[in-house]
């Protein structure tokens, strides 16, 4: 007997949302946006059981590949989990991607010039574009970097820019991750698994490839080797197998054909770095390090660090080894400095920013203070010198009295506060296990970029992160977030 497919419950349906939401798939009239028109029917034709099989295949593949993270308890063994992965890809039309790509290149270019300036002449501070206090009080301002010029003047070889689409349909940068951004291995694994499970969907689109990232990263690494080194020995430095990003570290080392080292494999002698091989020491020229500045050199930074290599900063300062990214880049990606990025772009490049920053009102300016005081209910107000969410005031969740209270705090010390509109992340349908169907969830995008001696590259895709809890805006994997494959289309 033939099954009447029209009677079947479809797993993906349009869920009308209230105002203030931007749905990636359906427009406000419930019509499919053009770039999803070929994809959604594929998901609507499939029965739950078959979809479950796809899902299971994806999960098993992740599990067997070891794309997992460990939840350690006091028992000797940890429980292994995979990061939740959703099979419905996020699609970015080529026109939109063009803006993102150009915007990231512009942004990183300016930030790299900014870092050089901070550790040299500090013109931007002298010209009073960025306040001195903001820089020198930052925990990430690294004195060891003063006056040091890294090869090809590149500080931020590898970056991950967090971007959201607001309810106005435009892209905004939320954060520049300039230290050791992680997640790129998931972009590659996600795509790999998507191709195995949903190969038929790819035939309907021209999706830009992400598979060249390892080669691009390798050429970036090679391009900044110390001068005079013909065949640089490059390594990836990991904190070890218990680090939550270990999979990524070993993955990147493997796909680039580089040696994956831990701090204890390396040592410094007479300002050169060596690794301990079975045949004795072998010189190391470039280190793509996935450990934080603080842990790099126990002789200079945290003395108790066992992850780092004692003496490495001396070798770095002498130009005998290149570190990727350069130490001290964190000074440019903290919350307060973020608000100055549009000015930083303008200052160094004399261009208007291509990608929007979340607009920031600085209460130290009289006109902006006035605006903030009048729009408290629709703003997030934060103290500039606190981190980790302390003292953050979210206007739409406060009572009148609380608002008045907070206004007093701002008026007491306007310099201390900045305010931003409450941003709303766009939503996209995500499979919810318990409901056996798709439901809209908030998403963002981490876009990865590379900067070498003469090349810049933005990975055409990126990690779309999903907040799995309904209404939640936090997409971090540590907060139970999942991910989706991101398809950048070749043309419209």
């Amino acid at each position: 007997m033939a099954v009447d497919k029209t009677l079947m419950k479809r797993i993906v349906e349009h869920v009308p949302l209230g105002e203030g939401f931007f749905d990636e798939i359906w427009d406000t009239n419930g019509k499919l946006r053009p770039h999803y028109r070929k994809l959604i029917p594929l998901f609507q034709e499939v029965e739950v059981e078959e979809f479950r099989q796809w899902d299971e295949l994806a999960k098993i593949t992740f599990f067997n590949q070891g794309v997992t993270f460990n939840v350690y308890s006091d028992k000797s063994k940890g429980v292994e989990r995979i990061f939740p992965f959703d099979l419905l890809p996020r699609i970015i039309p080529s026109k939109e991607w063009e803006i993102i790509e150009k915007g990231i290149i512009q942004r990183n270019h300016a930030i790299n010039l900014f870092l050089y300036d901070l550790y040299h002449d500090k013109k931007i501070i002298r010209d009073k574009v960025v306040p001195a206090d903001l820089i020198f009080s930052s925990a990430f301002y690294n004195r060891e970097m003063i006056g040091l010029t890294p090869p090809a003047n590149v500080y931020i070889h590898v970056t991950g820019t967090d971007i959201i689409k607001h309810s106005d349909g435009r892209y905004y940068v939320l954060e520049d991750n300039l230290r050791c951004p992680s997640g790129v291995s998931y972009v590659l694994s996600n795509r790999d698994i998507m191709k195995k499970v949903l190969h038929h969907a790819f035939s309907k689109y021209h999706v830009k490839t992400v598979t060249q990232y390892p080669e691009k990263l390798l050429s970036t690494i090679l391009s900044v080797a110390p001068k005079g080194v013909d065949k640089p020995n490059c390594v990836v430095l990991t904190p070890g197998i218990y680090n939550s990003a270990y999979f990524e570290h070993s993955f990147l080392a493997q796909v680039m054909g580089l040696t994956l080292v831990e701090g204890r494999d390396l040592f410094v002698d007479k300002n050169f770095v060596y690794m301990k091989t079975i045949h004795g020491p072998k010189r190391v020229d470039v280190i793509y390090r996935r450990i934080d500045d603080d842990f790099l050199d126990p002789l200079v930074f945290r003395p108790e660090s066992v992850l780092g290599i004692p003496g490495i900063m001396g070798a770095y300062r002498a130009g005998n080894v290149t570190l990727i990214n350069a130490p001290g880049t964190g000074v440019a990606d903290d919350k307060a400095v973020y608000t100055y990025v549009p000015e930083i772009i303008k200052y160094y490049l004399d261009e208007d920013p291509i990608l929007l920053n979340v607009p920031t009102y600085r209460c130290e300016r009289a006109d902006e203070l006035q605006y903030v005081l009048e729009h408290m209910h629709e703003l997030v107000v934060k103290p500039v010198d606190e981190s980790g969410g302390y003292g953050v005031f979210i206007g739409n969740r406060k009572t009148k009295a609380e608002i008045e209270e907070y206004k007093k705090l701002i008026l007491d010390n306007p310099r201390k506060y900045i305010a931003q509109p409450i941003m709303s992340l766009s939503v996209q349908s995500t499979f919810i296990d318990n409901d056996n169907s798709y439901d809209p969830r908030h998403i963002d995008l981490r876009a990865f970029a590379l900067m070498g001696k003469d090349n810049t590259y933005v990975l055409e895709g990126g990690l779309t992160r999903v907040a799995l809890t309904k209404g939640n805006l936090i997409v971090n994997s540590s907060q139970g977030g999942g991910s989706k494959d991101t398809w950048v289309l070749e043309h419209e």
Binding site: F63, V236, Q254, R264, I278
Partner: protein
């Protein structure tokens, strides 16, 4: 190659090899005991398995009686028992994880899947599926792992180190089986059942070392103790024999070594000497005092392993 990675790979191979041999020994003895001659006690079979695995004392300290499910649990599933299959495979997998970028994806994924299998299996599962299913799966995984080691790795230092670990552990485990069996044979009372029981134990040894079929093809005769020992010790064509494994060990060391002059007491010297000595040993010499012979051989092998660790695996 990093010394730490070499250390990881060496121990990865040893742990993998170890659990394969212990599992096969347990499997063979478990199934042969089902229809064993009457005078073979179930307890002595369990004891033999524990002895071979080197876990007898530990087991006795923790349990009141020799009991089948307890022994299976102890040798197969105990998280804390360092010779258990689960422990060995989890160590092998941790070592492989630390050297993930040095081995092939195929090899890694097999070891990882193998680990997830041994880690998820419970005593109830074994009770339900039977011992055969459990031990068979483990031996199958072992074969796949060995296949990928041979098929998916460059013949370079990485492969040589893994191979060294495999062959050292294989030689050790084969000798442990021989020694345990010699003791089992010594316990057989001198009555008219003796020859039946001896044959039973010798066939168990051949099956446990996966050489039953090979030896039959080679000898075309009823197995006896002398030919079995000769086959497992001195036959250069038998891939499980001590001499065969020593040849592999020596070849791997020669490949890795960059020492041109071999000094007395060095790793290269020890490997060459062991192989040469064994190559010129006759089965009559072995048979004079077989236990002493194998104990000495084991000691020499442990010494070789120590030298190897000192020279290449310390970081």
């Amino acid at each position: 190659m990093l010394a730490r990675i070499a250390n990881n790979l060496f121990w990865m191979a040893r742990y993998l090899e170890r659990s394969e041999h212990i599992t096969r020994y347990a499997q063979v003895h478990y199934f042969s005991s089902i229809d064993a001659p009457l005078s073979i006690k179930r307890e002595s079979v369990l004891e033999s398995v524990l002895q071979m695995a080197g876990a007898y004392t530990d087991y006795v300290n923790k349990h009141d009686e020799l009991e089948e499910t307890q022994v299976v649990k102890f040798i197969g599933l105990d998280d804390l028992n360092p010779i258990s299959v689960r422990y060995s495979i989890s160590r092998a997998r941790e070592n492989a994880r630390g050297a993930r970028d040095s081995i092939s994806t195929e090899l890694w994924e097999t070891i990882n899947t193998y680990y997830h299998y041994t880690n998820s299996i419970q005593a109830e599962d074994i009770a339900e599926q039977g011992m055969y299913e459990y031990t068979h799966r483990i031996l199958q995984y072992s074969s796949i792992v060995n296949g990928y080691i041979d098929q998916s790795l460059l013949r370079d230092e990485t492969w040589s180190i893994i191979h060294l670990g495999q062959h050292i552990e294989r030689a050790v485990q084969i000798m442990r089986m021989i020694v345990t069996k010699l003791m089992d044979l010594n316990r057989i009372p001198n009555n008219h059942w003796a020859s039946t029981l001896q044959l039973f134990e010798i066939v168990n040894l051949l099956k446990s070392t996966e050489t039953y079929d090979m030896s039959k093809i080679f000898y075309k005769d009823v197995p006896n103790a002398t030919y079995t020992l000769a086959f497992l010790t001195l036959n250069a064509q038998c891939p499980k024999s001590i001499v065969y494994n020593l040849q592999q060990i020596k070849d791997c060391i020669d490949f890795i070594s960059d020492d041109k002059n071999v000094k007395e007491g060095s790793l290269e010297f020890q490997a060459n000497k062991m192989l040469a000595t064994l190559s010129f040993t006759t089965i009559e010499e072995v048979a004079k005092n077989p236990l002493a012979f194998y104990y000495e051989c084991l000691n020499q092998l442990y010494k070789l392993s120590d030298l190897l660790e000192k020279k290449y695996l310390t970081y």
